[in-house]
Every structure is written in structure tokens, then in C-alpha cells.
Amino acid sequence: MSNIIDRRLNSRGKSISNRQRFLKRVEDQIKKALPEIVNQESLHETSTGGTVKVPVRGVDEPTFVHDPETGIKNIVRPGNDRFSEGDRVPKPKGGQGKGGSGGPGSNSPETTEDGFVVVLSREEFLRFFFDDLELPNMVKKFMENVDSFENRRAGFIKYGNPSRLNVKSSYQQSLARRISLQGVYKKKLERLQTQLTASVDPVEMKGLQTEIEKVNRLVKAVPFFEDVDLRYNHFEAVPQPTTSAVMFCIMDVSASMGQHEKDIAKRFFTLLYIFLTRQYENVELVFIRHHTAAKEVDEEEFFNSRESGGTVVAPSLKLMNKIISERYSNGQWNIYGCQASDDDVWSDLMPMSAYRSCGTKYCPPCSTWPIWKSVTGRRTVHCGKLIIN
């Protein structure tokens, strides 16, 4: 006799620990793959797409296998509808075509999978991105902060500033309280009145009348307004994206900036750009590269071309200043300037004084990552400098 067992009520998630092991492995791999992705994608791409595809290596299980492209294979296929012995059929171009893989069957365990790809949402990607950079928490927090807020109405609260008292809803509260508290007495009054009219005994009538007066006093004693009635308008601070920002990427392309330094610079710019696109709807990019002279270029040229020469920062900041006054001077733009250099400045003009020439004020630089920030009117200007050693 067979044993029939209903397993459906068994606890779920038998393979949870295996799945967690797998996910941890994937996470580790994503972290490893991250630098490559950042290098591959252009600045725009990293932040425009909703998702990031990360090819994950290290979760495939290699074995010794035949290369399907090689060798002579005799393959048996079903459903011959047109061939005779000795026919020759051109191979389909591209891909393996019908005869390529020669898998033993539809249920074959040998079916190969394409590379394993994980799709990350923007937030997940940024989490990995920040993790990987090992930013101090303070800087992360700064990156995630939004600096402008707008107050929006968000209902009523019981405590608040008298100037925000909402008369209408306070009155509604008071009315409700009065109706509910006085109701008891009013019912009692009604009952006493009917007793009074029905009563003939003068002593009883006297007693009833004093009772009625007492209850009437109680009714009047219910106050018109009490503290519990008061309602105040409530406002909530909603982060307000300032819609436009312009980001100046300034990079030193002097001879001492090798490919490695440029990669670091690119990651730095990418990080800032991603951050900006989270804050602003519209972010424009201006690329300026400089050695002893500064020049505005497009992204392609910015990262890929090589120049040689010494390093003077000042001309690029002057150029930045010029571009600001020409194109971004109407106060609608938040301006972010960041400069990446290996700090081989051999000019008299030190970078600090060079920044000053932009006409901004500076906060003292934060110790781990120099960031200058100033607010002039509605417009914020941030300047940062990355020193690659």
C-alpha cells in the first residue's frame, strides 16, 4: 500500500538558506563588477536609465565541455520534409542554427544559459555605488540631503502656534463636544419636565423644580471652547527640487594624468552627476579640460583624448566663470563645479585663489573631501576638488 502525504502544509522556504547564499554571492559579484560598469557607461547613461544591467560572473559553474562550434557532428533531427541523402544545405549565418548545439533533447539538462544578468533599480545601483566608494557616513548623508524645502498643508494638529489656529475646524470640535456633553443633561431635563407636568403633589413639584434649575446650570456650565477643541493648520516640509543645475567637469589633462587617474576622475564625475540627477530634473554638463590652457570639449573628447603639458588651473576656472556669465547667469541655475587633478600645480596662482576668481564664497573645506558651498540669492554654487595622488 502506498503512502500518500499532503506536504502542502509543511513550512515554506525550505531552500531559503541556499537562496541567501546565492544572493550574497551575487552581491559580492556586483560590487566587483561595479567599477567596470561605471567605466563603460557614459555619464548620461548612468543616470538616465531606470535600471542597470550587471553581468554577474562567478555564479556560473564551469565544467569541461565540448565547444559546440568545433568538430564534426552527426545530428539526428525529426520531421524531414524535403531532404534527400547527399543534399547540401547552407548553414544559417550568425548563431548556431538548427544543427549547432546538438543537444540531446528538449528536457536536456545540458541546455546552456546565457550569461547571468542582474537588473538593478536606480536606488539599488546607487546603494552599491556608494558602498563601494567607502565614503564616510557624513559625506553620504550630505549626498543624500536635499537642501530646499517647501511647506505644504498636511491636515490639522492639536498643538501649534496661535497664528495658525484654524477657526472652522476648532468650532466643529467645540460643537461636537458641546452636543455630546449637554445631551445627557437635556435628556434628563426632558424627563423632569414631563414628571413636573404630570405631578400634582406640591412638595414633589418643588423638588422637581429645584432639580430642573440645577440641571439647567449644569448645561450652561459646559464651556463654549476648551483647549481640546483647538485645531491648528499643519504644514509639512516637502523637499523641493530646484529644477535646473549645471555641472562643470574640469579635468587636468596634463601629461601626469594617466589612464588610471582619468578612471578615478570619471568615477568622481559620475558620482556627482548621479547625485545631481537625483536632485534636479534638468542637469546640464559642461566639460572643460585644461593643461596650461583651458578648452570646452564634449564628453567623448573629454575622457578619451590625451594631451600633454603643464598644469595651470586658473584659466579653466576663468573659462568656467565666463561660461556661467554667458549662459547660466539668470539665477535659475544651481552651479556645481568640480575639478579633478593630480595636483601638480606649478603656477603662481594657487587653486584656492583661482576658485576665488569665480566670485563665490566658500565654506571651509570638509576634511575628507573638499567641498565648497555658497549660497547667493536663490542660487547655490558648490565647488569641489578631487586630488588624485
Binding site: 506536504r7 565541455v65 552527426n74 539526428v76 533531427r77 524531414n80 533533447g105
Partner: protein, 504 residues
């Protein structure tokens, strides 16, 4: 026992309960035994949800296994495909154990349940219990115990040596799993208890024999000449079971890693017959469910509606798209196996002239006996070579394509005609041989004098090379277990090295 009408009513209701399943089990077992003469392991039928089925998928049906991320990966992939509607889950899954455990999906209709029970609990079960590959290469009685033991052992290792290190060993052993099989020497039967005792013994012998004093004894009597030269002695013949070789001969591998290799090796051995009997196993199970359900219909246990649903499911399982169809993804093992078994029956019952010429030993014999004989004593390649008849080749319109690497065209080598039958049969049989998809790689020698380099040889068959990148990665795993340089040379028929992979 109920009346036939009661059965009919039970099976006619598309929703089932415990009674329905009991009735189905009772009838299919009886029909299988009386009509098809099946001998089976006792059945353990488990009703599972889709999530539990996915669990079963990732552990290839085993109720328990040691923890490893690979199983989690399989779960995630299957679940993704399932929830996206890309692939359906199978109606059942069955494993080769005693008692024979089968998982049936909860959302099967009554008809599917009956079909599945006839297919898995009778068909597959009888195949596991009687086919020589399963009988002699696996031990159905003890696999469940053994897996529990393996899990316990590996968890203990994780506790002691850390998850990462254990994972590393498992990764490496898994990479060589296909090369951890005894094909000729029949493996000893598994036993969790013996396995534990063997382990204990191994450590205690080492403990007992360790004595600080012995080390200090002068080695006077032993001259360097009298020492056997290990390079010659210790590998007299090439070894194709790489995992076995590593377990026994890896120079400095700690004992616990050897034990893990052993576990992986035993699991690989357990699954070895599955891959070699896919066509036969599915074919025979389909043959069995087809006969049992038809018999039930003849005897009046099920009604016409049930049969219509059955025929629909049966034919979708056996659907074989043509090579040019967009649904085509290789030969359907169910179809091929079922067709061959049905044809054995036909040849026995009503042989034609052709059959008498091709199968003189089958024509006119008792069909059930012949089907049993085929089921018990063959595996896919030999089964096809022995029983693929011209009629099946014609019905399925099989043809052989030659795909040569350097040619721009395929050549049609044979089709379903008088001249082609044998060629088709041979080519198809070849396709189901293990060497078709597992390269022949052997441990050739070890250079014990200087570098401890392990030399492996890949025998190139019909010019098929290894994928370089994957080979290199696998070699790194091998390197990890050997702990010294490894070197794999691909040799062609003339013994000339065509490619050399190295990992030092």
C-alpha cells in the same frame, strides 16, 4: 474496494481529495501489476505546492541535500522562469529511492493525478527498480540516509572551517562532478552508518599512529633506492575518475576536503544512470501510463470525459515539433522512447515482412516479456541501437545532418529510406552516448620528482575541442584540489598535442 460506479464518480470529478488519490493509487497499482506485470518499490506520494516543487527542482528531487549556493541559483532561475510564465512546472517529479518518493503538483486535475500516478509511481518506479543501470550503479535503499549524512557532515565542516572554505571545495568538486564517476567498476553500496564509521576509523588510525617518538627514529634501514618510485608505481594506468583520484592521491589535501570530494563523487554516481536512460525512462513511463489508463477505461473505471482530457494531456506530453518548427528544441525523449516501446509491442503482435527481417528475435514473441527485457537490460544508446525500427524512423521522419566545422554547408547524410536506416540508428545512438557531451579526460601521470604537476589528457574525438575559457576555469578548480600545478593536453587520434591548458 468500491463499486465501479463509485470509482467512475470519483475520477469524473475534476477536483480530488484524499479518497480520490487512494482510489487512483489502488487501481493503477492493481492494473500495473496484473496487466503489465510491474514490480515496484513501495510508493511515497507527496502532494506539493508550486514553491515546494521548485525546492524539489533545485535539489533534483532529493528531499534533503547539503547547503550550497548552486541550489539557490537553480531555485531563483526556475522561479523566475515560472513566475514570468516562461516555463511551466512539471506535473510530477520522482526520485530513485526506496520507498520511491514522487512529488505531485497540487493544482493537477483528477485526470492529471491519475495519469501522473500511473506515469511516475508505476512507470518510473518500475524502471528504477528493474533497470540494470539503477540496480547496479545506485543504491536506492540508502540514498536518503546518505544525503542526511552528507548534510550533517558538511554543516559540521562549515562550523569548523568556515562557510567560505567549504564552499570553495564544493565549487571545485562540482566543476569536476562529471568526471567523478566509476563507469566500469561497480561502486560499493552506500550506507550512511558505514560511511560514518569509516570516517571515524580514518581519524582514529591517524591519531593512534601519531607518536612524537617515531619521528625521531633514525631512518637508517631505508635507502633511497629501496623506496618505490612513486611516479611509476602509483599510477599504473590512467584514471578517468578525477574526483576519485584527487580524493585518494592529492598530496597535501586535508582529510575533511577529501571527505567532501567523496560526498560529491557519491552524489554524481547516484545521478549517473539518470542521464544515460532519459529516453528509456520517460518512454517506458509513458508506455505504462498509456496502457494503465486505457485499461482503466476498458474496465469501466473512468468515463469518456476523463479519457478526452487524458488523450489531450498525453498527446501534448508526446508532442514532437519538426526540425523547422519554431518550437523545436531537440528530440523529445518522451516521444522517442514511447514510440520505440510501442513499436516493440507492435512487432511482437503483428510483425510485417520488414520486421521479420530486422527483428527476427522479436517477431511473434510475447510482447510484455520483450518490453520488460528491453526495459531491464539496456540504456539509451544500446536501446536505440537495438530497437529503433525502420517504422519508427519513417514515422518520425528522422534524418542525419553532418555539421562540419570548416564547411559552409550541412550535409544530409541519411534519411528515412532503406539505405539510411542503419546510419540514422547509429548516429542517434551515438548522440545518447555519454562521450557525446562529456569529454573524455583522464589523469595521465604525476610528476612526483620535481613539481608535483598533475598531467591530464583530453582525447579529442571527431575534432571536438574544449571551450578554452571554461576549461581554464575548471582547471583552476582542479588546481585548488590538487594544490600543485595542473596541465591538460588535448590529444588527437595520433597522440599529438593540439592544445595545452595550464594552471600553475
Amino acid at each position: 474496494m468500491l463499486s465501479k460506479e463509485m470509482y467512475k464518480q470519483l475520477f469524473g470529478n475534476p477536483t480530488w481529495d484524499h479518497h480520490t488519490l487512494q482510489a487512483a493509487d489502488e487501481i493503477t497499482t492493481r492494473v500495473g501489476k496484473e496487466h503489465l506485470n510491474l514490480s515496484i518499490y513501495p510508493n511515497q506520494i507527496e502532494i506539493v505546492t508550486s514553491e515546494q516543487m521548485l525546492d524539489a527542482y533545485s535539489l533534483i528531487g532529493l528531499p534533503t541535500s547539503y547547503p550550497h549556493w548552486k541550489f539557490g541559483k537553480d531555485f531563483v532561475l526556475n522561479q523566475h522562469n515560472y513566475t514570468k510564465g516562461r516555463s511551466a512546472l512539471s506535473y510530477e517529479m520522482v526520485i530513485n529511492s526506496n520507498p520511491c518518493i514522487s512529488y505531485n503538483m497540487e493544482n493537477n486535475t483528477t485526470c492529471m493525478m491519475v495519469l501522473v500516478m500511473a506515469h511516475a509511481c508505476q512507470g518510473h518506479n518500475a524502471f528504477f527498480a528493474n533497470n540494470y543501470m539503477f540496480k547496479e550503479w545506485t543504491s536506492a535503499d540508502s540514498i536518503l540516509d546518505y544525503m542526511a549524512f552528507a548534510r550533517e557532515y558538511i554543516l559540521a565542516c562549515e562550523e569548523e572551517y568556515g562557510v567560505e572554505e567549504v564552499e570553495r571545495v564544493l565549487d571545485a568538486a562540482h566543476a569536476l562532478m562529471n568526471h567523478g564517476i566509476d563507469k566500469y567498476r561497480k561502486p560499493a553500496k552506500l550506507s550512511a552508518r558505514e560511511e560514518k564509521e569509516r570516517q571515524k576509523l580514518r581519524t582514529s588510525v591517524r591519531h593512534e599512529n601519531y607518536n612524537e617518538l617515531w619521528r625521531t627514529l633514525p631512518q637508517a634501514g631505508v635507502s633511497s633506492n629501496s623506496k618505490p618510485l612513486p611516479g611509476k608505481n602509483f599510477l599504473e594506468e590512467p584514471e578517468e575518475n578525477i574526483l576519485y583520484f584527487l580524493e585518494k592521491n592529492s598530496p597535501t589535501l586535508p582529510v575533511w576536503k577529501r571527505e567532501i570530494i567523496r560526498i560529491v563523487r557519491k552524489v554524481a554516481q547516484y545521478f549517473y544512470p539518470q542521464g544515460l536512460t532519459k529516453v528509456m525512462n520517460e518512454g517506458f513511463a509513458s508506455f505504462v501510463h498509456y496502457h494503465i489508463v486505457n485499461k482503466m477505461y476498458e474496465e469501466g473505471y473512468v468515463d469518456d470525459g476523463f479519457m478526452l482530457e487524458f488523450i489531450h494531456s498525453h498527446s501534448s506530453v508526446l508532442y514532437q515539433p519538426d526540425y523547422s518548427s519554431k518550437h523545436f528544441s531537440g528530440l523529445n525523449p518522451y516521444t522517442l522512447g514511447f514510440n520505440i516501446f510501442m513499436d516493440i509491442k507492435r512487432i511482437c503482435q503483428s510483425p510485417t515482412e520488414e520486421d521479420r527481417y530486422w527483428f527476427p528475435n522479436l517477431a511473434g514473441r510475447d510482447w510484455l516479456e520483450e518490453v520488460h527485457n528491453a526495459m531491464q537490460n539496456f540504456r539509451d544508446d544500446s536501446f536505440i541501437l537495438q530497437y529503433l525500427s525502420p517504422k519508427v524512423i519513417r514515422d518520425m521522419k528522422l534524418f542525419v545532418v553532418i555539421d562540419e566545422e570548416d564547411e559552409d554547408e550541412y550535409e544530409i547524410a541519411a534519411i528515412h529510406n532503406e539505405r539510411g536506416y542503419r546510419k540514422v540508428r547509429e548516429a542517434l545512438s551515438e548522440q545518447y552516448r555519454r562521450t557525446f557531451y562529456v569529454p573524455e579526460i583522464q589523469v595521465e601521470k604525476v610528476d612526483l620528482h620535481t613539481t608535483n604537476t598533475l598531467h591530464l589528457t583530453h582525447q579529442i574525438v571527431s575534432d571536438r575541442k574544449l571551450i578554452p575559457k571554461e576549461t581554464q576555469e575548471t582547471l583552476e578548480h582542479l588546481r585548488y584540489l590538487w594544490e600543485f600545478p595542473v596541465r591538460l593536453s588535448s590529444k588527437n587520434r595520433l597522440g599529438v598535442n593540439e592544445e595545452i591548458f595550464e594552471c600553475s
